[in-house]
Symmetry: C2
Subunit: 353 residues, 2 copies
């Protein structure tokens, strides 16, 4: 039996502890400084307050001050913070990560240099660590359509564990596989991580139609706006696959769990979709951010800000063309420049054969 330590006790990291513990492994769940109440609750009642569920008995919860103890002898380390915490966790890993450990990243997002060069989040962690340590740790990630709570209540979920070493992937997949948690493995780490990071961009746009209908008083009409959302989904799928190519991944990865599958689940709801709904209602995004969803973590919007800005720099450098990624560019103008919701349909679906 193996031991997994999880740093970050949000709903996704916690939910993923269910299949692992059900397979008889030990999970040590460590809260960040922001997770104090979550860990308190689990320690006292066993209940994760945001997930709304009691965790399994062999999940042991630790406050951050006990993190060193929790990492002691762990075989697997899960990076379980959200994308805003990636620089913080990289700092922690400097002293916590040990040679031979297998890292499993569930955090999704991107960072960009001033010249537009995009980086996946595991790269951000690696860049903060001594090169020797980086080479002695196994780097892996979980990708695919997973609403955390659905995993926790044992609903069928299909995911891809991606990494660089097939043996490590098999080891990790074995730890997690149950009759409801179905795991595939892939060596296309870059393609899968890129799909996972960019799908969040398009989830924001999945909320527009609902908001537009609400603003027009038509949300209960016989005919809603699935045509609109489907067209946005289709353009999103094209751009997601273009991002995979741009980052050097396998475009086929976009057609599957790590691309359109993940984008589908993300479009079904959540905070980014809700933020998009406000924009659909006609609220300028600056007001959504400062009033209606003040303080709410919006990873999709953050991805739009990072990637959208990078696209402008990449265009200037001639790495991509002006007409590439029209939907992502438009979403950037919505979230950063309060652009109204006039979808630039005529820029979509270029290069149809």
């Amino acid at each position: 039996m193996a031991t997994m330590v999880v740093l970050g006790s949000g709903i996704m990291a916690t939910a993923l502890s269910f299949p692992v513990t059900e397979n008889g492994h030990e999970v040590r769940l460590v809260g960040t400084h922001l997770d104090r109440e979550i860990i308190d609750s689990i320690q006292k009642t066993g209940v994760h307050p945001n997930l709304g569920l009691k965790v399994n008995e062999n999940i042991k919860a630790y406050q951050l001050e006990d993190v060193a103890e929790a990492f002691e002898g762990a075989d697997v380390v899960m990076c379980g913070v959200n994308s805003f915490g990636i620089e913080w966790i990289a700092e922690q890993f400097k002293t916590l990560l040990k040679p031979g450990q297998k890292l499993l990243c569930v955090t999704k997002g991107m960072r960009a240099d001033e010249d537009g060069t995009l980086h996946l989040l595991p790269t951000i962690i690696q860049n903060a660590l001594p090169k020797e340590l980086v080479d002695q740790v196994s780097w892996n990630a979980i990708v695919g359509p997973s609403i955390a709570g659905e995993v926790a209540v044992h609903h069928d979920t299909c995911v891809v564990f991606c990494g660089h070493d097939q043996d490590d992937l098999d080891y990790l997949a074995d730890m997690f596989r149950t009759d409801y948690y179905h795991v595939w493995t892939s060596l296309d780490f870059v393609g899968h991580e890129t799909g996972a990071a960019t799908k969040n961009i398009y989830a924001f746009a999945a909320g527009f139609a609902k908001g537009m209908l609400e603003a027009a008083g038509k949300e209960n009409d016989k005919y809603v706006m699935y045509n609109y959302s489907s067209a946005v989904f289709a353009q999103g799928a094209k751009e997601l696959i273009h991002f995979i190519k741009l980052m050097g991944g396998d475009p086929n990865t976009g057609i599957g769990l790590g691309g359109v599958g993940d984008m589908f689940v993300t479009s079904m709801g959540g905070r980014n979709v809700k933020a998009g709904t406000f924009v659909g209602q006609g609220v300028p995004f600056s007001e959504v951010r400062s009033v209606h969803m003040k303080g709410v973590t919006l990873e999709g919007v953050a991805a739009i800000s990072v990637v959208g800005k990078a696209l402008r720099a990449l265009t200037k450098r001639g790495v991509i063309k002006e007409e590439d990624f029209p939907l992502c560019r438009f979403l950037y103008s919505v979230v950063e420049e309060d652009h109204p919701l006039e979808m630039p349909w005529d820029k979509f679906f270029a290069n149809l054969k």
Copy 2:
């Protein structure tokens, strides 16, 4: 101004008459023998009863006995029946279609020979006509995520007009384009028609999760089954693109309006999804067909029957492999052999890199 005659007055064909007439063109809507009441209603009140809307004033409705008059001098002929009517309409076209007319097909589906060779529906029409006439008619089709009623009430809709001649496509696109009906054109006729035909197969599976939740009394739980439906969607996307390749189309067509976009809208609801919901509840499909949805047109289920059977013949001939199209094969066993809903997850997502 051009004249379009539409044979078949179902909701899709009728809805598509809206943008055309709003552009000042004349539309002659001819009912089949099954559409008598629809045409009666439009002639008397202007209302299409199934669409639940009043049609535009320059849509003129004809009963089938006046079809020859309606075809007189028409520039464009729309094939507006559903897939069950394709052999019937081919018979009609023998005497009605005239050289120089542009055909625009909205009917989606497939037929198969005993040896598994698959045919798109326009091919079925062509095979029934004299070769000389086939060569003198322009063959085109409309593909993309379109719920009929949403077009009729002017919600943004993005579609692809596909065919073999760019000038004809431009002519047709010009007839239809409005500020809410956005038209692209493509010469990948086979790819687009294949995507449109096969997406219906997977819509049936989009209903399973809801039915399973209902059977378990969990449909109002905090956590539903989007992970399940997203995995099915992802495998469906892979198979849809595989079908496009098998038929000789451009696989890129699957990533866009004519593939995942169309599959997305079809998964949002409709009769095939409803039929799948019954199966999710545990009802054998033979009972769904004979009791719960008796007499209801199920084009997706029909596509599963035709294509699923063909896959077995194609496998025997070595055209495809045993492990190809596992979801479509499973759906075939559900609708033709009352197979229970045990999703063969382990057969999905093969060849991940």
